[in-house]
């Protein structure tokens, strides 16, 4: 009995050690293996519920990466999930639970739309005007998202209001107020849908090789650059050190001269700025006009799962965002083409996420239990 438990412990210990030392390449290989395994189990479930498992899996894959336009759709979703995922990661890293990325995201997009629609008549048209409008729209979106993120930050710092609750409430407020403005003032006369006018046709990102009207590699590039910049800020600057230290151990951060209240506000502002940038990307690259935010995809919520899968590491958000983007695209494709219940699709997608997250969960618990280290 004791020998057996000892041996089991030794095996777990060795596994934990191996997992904690895994290189980036090994982790990637693990993720691929996990996805494959999850797809195998998922197809058994699909088969057992009486549907065609082969068709299901092949549709999922085809929908994600099957042809150039499906890849474009995957990358478009990934772009949004990477940006919103980075926004979540920034806050979680600093120990602040910003559940309001969705709200900051729709506020940012609305700010972009307002900027473009109001400034377009005042500026020259053509490429110059387009670039100028997009740049200004993006800057305004970052400011607006940051400001909307600062609100719950201020409430937490100076009124002790729990940020989880305030950010969720502010999500609803953002959607409702924006809907009201669009419906009351921005809806072109004679239309019934709560949409603004379309942006001028010279505003938009070129599709390049993908030939898509709603995806551009420039957008993806901005998302990747954002992840990299945020990573560098968090890992290499004293500002990032202040934030991350506050997230790890607030009392030690205060001891080191970090003002905890101010840090909550700057964290929420920083996180909101990235969410605002995601909103600008959504308005410019994907929509080309603005609409009722409650009809938008819930990127800001899916981003929480993306960030957690990436262990709140801004660079890890990139592969996590790509995976989620692919699953989203594949799942939607199945919804269009196969007569399979949506719950089954969600179930298999959930299974894949669980399997991919498992190694990280294992690592986290191993670290907490002190397995795999030699010094304990």
């Amino acid at each position: 009995m004791s020998a057996a438990s000892e041996r089991a412990r030794a095996i777990v210990d060795r596994m934990a050690d191996r997992m904690l030392r895994a290189s980036v390449l090994e982790r990637f290989a693990l993720a691929v293996a996990s996805t494959t395994l999850a797809l195998l189990i998922g197809s058994v479930i699909v088969w057992a519920t009486g549907y065609d498992a082969v068709e299901f899996v092949s549709s999922l894959l085809y929908g994600a990466v099957g042809n150039i336009s499906n890849i474009a759709f995957t990358l478009r979703q990934s772009t949004m999930l990477i940006l919103t995922g980075v926004a979540v990661a920034v806050a979680f890293r600093a120990g602040v639970f910003n559940i309001g990325v969705q709200g900051q995201f729709v506020v940012g997009g609305f700010a972009t739309a307002l900027t473009i629609l109001f400034l377009a008549p005042l500026l020259p048209g053509g490429i110059v005007g387009g670039v100028l409008l997009m740049a200004l729209g993006t800057i305004v979106a970052i400011v607006a998202g940051g400001a909307y993120g600062a609100v719950p930050g201020l409430m937490k710092a100076y009124a002790d209001a729990n940020e989880v609750i305030t950010t969720i409430m502010l999500n609803f407020i953002a959607s409702g107020v924006i809907y009201f403005f669009i419906d009351a003032y921005l809806r072109p006369a004679g239309t019934s849908a709560p949409n603004t006018e379309s942006f001028p046709e010279y505003v938009g990102l070129p599709g390049f090789a993908f030939g898509s009207s709603s995806f551009s590699v420039i957008g993806l590039g901005i998302a990747l650059l954002t992840a990299l910049v945020v990573y560098v800020v968090m890992a290499r600057t004293s500002f990032g050190y202040d934030l991350v230290t506050s997230g790890h151990q607030e009392s030690a951060a205060a001891y080191s001269g970090v003002d905890p209240k101010r840090t909550v506000v700057t964290t929420m502002t920083f996180s909101g700025m990235v969410a605002g940038l995601a909103g600008a990307m959504f308005a410019i690259m994907i929509l080309g006009y603005y609409s009722d935010p409650s009809s938008f995809p819930s990127f800001g919520f899916d981003a929480i799962a993306v960030s957690l899968l990436a262990a709140n590491n801004p660079l890890g958000v990139v592969p996590a965002g790509l995976l989620f983007g692919g699953l989203d695209a594949g799942g939607q494709y199945i919804g269009f083409t196969l007569d399979v219940p949506a719950e089954l699709v969600d179930g298999v997608v959930g299974l894949i996420v669980l399997f991919v997250a498992a190694p990280e969960l294992f690592r986290m618990s191993a670290r907490r239990l002190g397995l795999g280290g030699e010094d304990r």
């Binding site: 004791s2 290499r236 004293s238 009392s251 205060a254 001891y255 080191s256 001269g257």
Partner: protein, 530 residues
């Protein structure tokens, strides 16, 4: 108590390795029934490892364990508890929001038809308390977070007794206690041995070991150096066994005279987190090349005073000046940048980020110092070199800058914090309990560093509840009681007894300070329950 003739615990040739490190090397230890056996040694000498082996937390690589004469192998603490071995850890293992009785019966709840039978548990626990004269029974329905540290410790002891422990391991039980609470603990220990229980008392405070132990075993570098009779040994003998060389207990003579005033505090009043005034109008002044010691029982406003000076707590009224400038409202960061170093009381919560490695901890508090940060970007190479300097200069073990702070022993954590703070080249060092929980080799080292710093012209404000420490290090010694200075004395011209009376708030004949205990000081909470 099965067999009263066989030793309570007999460890024979215990060997425990962690990788290449031998934490216990053929250690023998015999604890006779009904005695206190002290286990002393420096941090990292293997005391806690040895006791973890006895408590079933680690399996052994060699040797045998006998309890009451019977050979045993423990796979888990459960086995150890079943054999009558209990352990009170240094950091209590209590669930704060649960009541005392719930904590005591946790894991061994008496049940009646599947439901916890708290009434019968209560009777049993009250019996235990009666038998040993514990006051814990009056707190049974109080939540653990609402009782003081000393009481929490007694709850831990009652918990072990409730589980039927005949042999109790106390892991550095005095580290968290005030002098009064230490006395109470010693009384409890006496009661326990009088009733036939055996105690293993882990400590690195030699005077405590000598005060309560029947026998003392000294560990050094994982080996047992020897066992001596508690009544016959001397502090010098024990220190030599522990460190392997003679240790100087005397302070060094000062080489310079104090210079200009660095820190001036005037009429300072400070409130604590519960909005009670803890500092009741303090005036003090520290000059360069001078150590001002503040002695007092913990919880008499020292912590709030220190936090107000270092910028971690708002001042209610009065002023703090540093180097001639008023810094009463300056931020903590501004104070760090202007040259105030702070060795905090709580290294685990404040001084170090537990899951950062030493490199990242070396930046803590230095985030805006030019040497390490350029245009907002951290020069991690410089920080790493700085961490390596601290580790080698302050002899931090293990000497790896990649080690996580939380994996270091308390003494080594403290050496790292002291090193980091003193290497700032500050003008003022505020040191709060700088040697709490530190082994005597390191204490000597830290004391010497503080004296060197003083001789180099630094101003030092030292707060400690250890009388020998403040007496040895201070040039002037203020005694704090209920938020006020009772008196400021010459440390060479006062006895421990006199200091003890001053700490209790009784004044020596006709000082210039007000009588404490009057008017508003009466509302100050004496520190219980914090």
């Amino acid at each position: 108590m099965s067999d009263t003739t066989a030793p309570a615990v007999e460890l024979d040739g215990i060997t425990k390795r962690f990788g290449d490190v031998v934490a216990n090397d053929e250690v023998d230890l015999t604890v006779e029934q009904g005695t206190v056996h002290a286990l002393v040694g420096e941090n990292g000498a293997g005391k806690t490892t040895l006791m973890s082996v006895l408590y079933g937390l680690y399996d052994i690589d060699g040797g045998t364990i006998r309890v009451d004469g019977e050979e045993r192998t423990f796979d888990s603490p459960r086995d150890a508890i079943d054999a009558g071995v209990g352990m009170v850890h240094q950091h209590f293992e209590l669930v704060d929001p649960m009541t005392v009785i719930q904590n005591i019966i946790l894991g061994q709840e008496p049940t009646e038809r599947g439901l916890v039978d708290e009434d019968s548990a209560r009777t049993t626990v009250e019996d235990v308390c009666d038998r040993y004269g514990f006051d814990v029974d009056q707190y049974l329905d109080t939540r653990v977070e609402d009782i003081g540290v000393g009481v929490q410790q007694r709850v831990e002891i009652v918990k072990s007794l409730y589980r039927g422990a005949d042999t109790l391991i106390l892991d550095e039980p005095t580290a968290v206690l005030t002098p009064q609470e230490v006395e109470e603990l010693f009384d409890v220990m006496e009661e326990l041995t009088a009733s036939g229980r055996s105690l293993i008392f882990i400590t690195h405070k030699l005077d405590e070991a000598m005060a309560v132990a029947d026998e003392i075993t000294v560990l050094r570098d994982g080996k047992s150096v020897g066992t001596v009779d508690g009544a016959e040994t001397t502090e010098q003998e024990l220190a030599r066994m522990m460190v392997g060389r003679d240790v100087l207990f005397e302070g060094q003579e000062r080489t310079t005279e104090p210079g200009e005033e660095i820190l001036a505090v005037d009429g300072l009043q400070v409130r604590d987190d519960r909005d009670l005034r803890q500092v009741e109008g303090i005036d003090l002044s520290v000059r360069s090349g001078e150590v001002l010691g503040i002695a007092g029982v913990d919880g008499n406003g020292q912590a709030e005073l220190v936090e107000a000076i270092t910028g971690l707590r708002r001042v209610e009224s009065g002023t703090v000046s540093f180097d001639g400038a008023d810094i009463t409202t300056a931020s903590r960061r501004e104070r760090i940048e202007s040259g105030i170093a702070y060795i905090p009381e709580d290294r685990q919560e404040e001084g170090l980020v537990q899951d950062y490695d030493l490199v990242r901890n070396a930046l803590l508090g230095n985030q805006t110092i030019e040497q390490f940060v350029d245009g907002g970007f951290v020069d991690w190479g410089a920080v790493r070199a700085h961490a390596a300097d601290i580790v080698s200069e302050y002899d931090v073990q293990p000497p790896h800058v990649e080690a996580e702070a939380g994996s270091l022993s308390g003494g080594n954590q403290q050496k790292f914090v002291v090193g980091r703070e003193l290497k700032h080249d500050p003008d003022l060092v505020v040191a709060s309990h700088p040697t709490r929980g530190v082994d005597i080799g390191s204490i000597e080292f830290i004391h010497n560093r503080l004296h060197e710093m003083r001789d180099e012209g630094m101003a030092i404000l030292l707060v400690s509840s250890k009388l020998d420490e403040v007496q040895k290090l201070s040039d002037r010694l203020a005694v704090m009681h209920e938020g006020e200075f009772v008196d400021v004395v010459d440390p060479d011209d006062v006895t421990e007894e006199e200091l003890g009376l001053l700490m209790a708030g009784r004044q020596r004949g006709g000082g210039e300070y007000e009588q404490p205990g009057e008017a508003e000081s009466a509302e100050v909470d004496g520190g219980a329950g914090s």
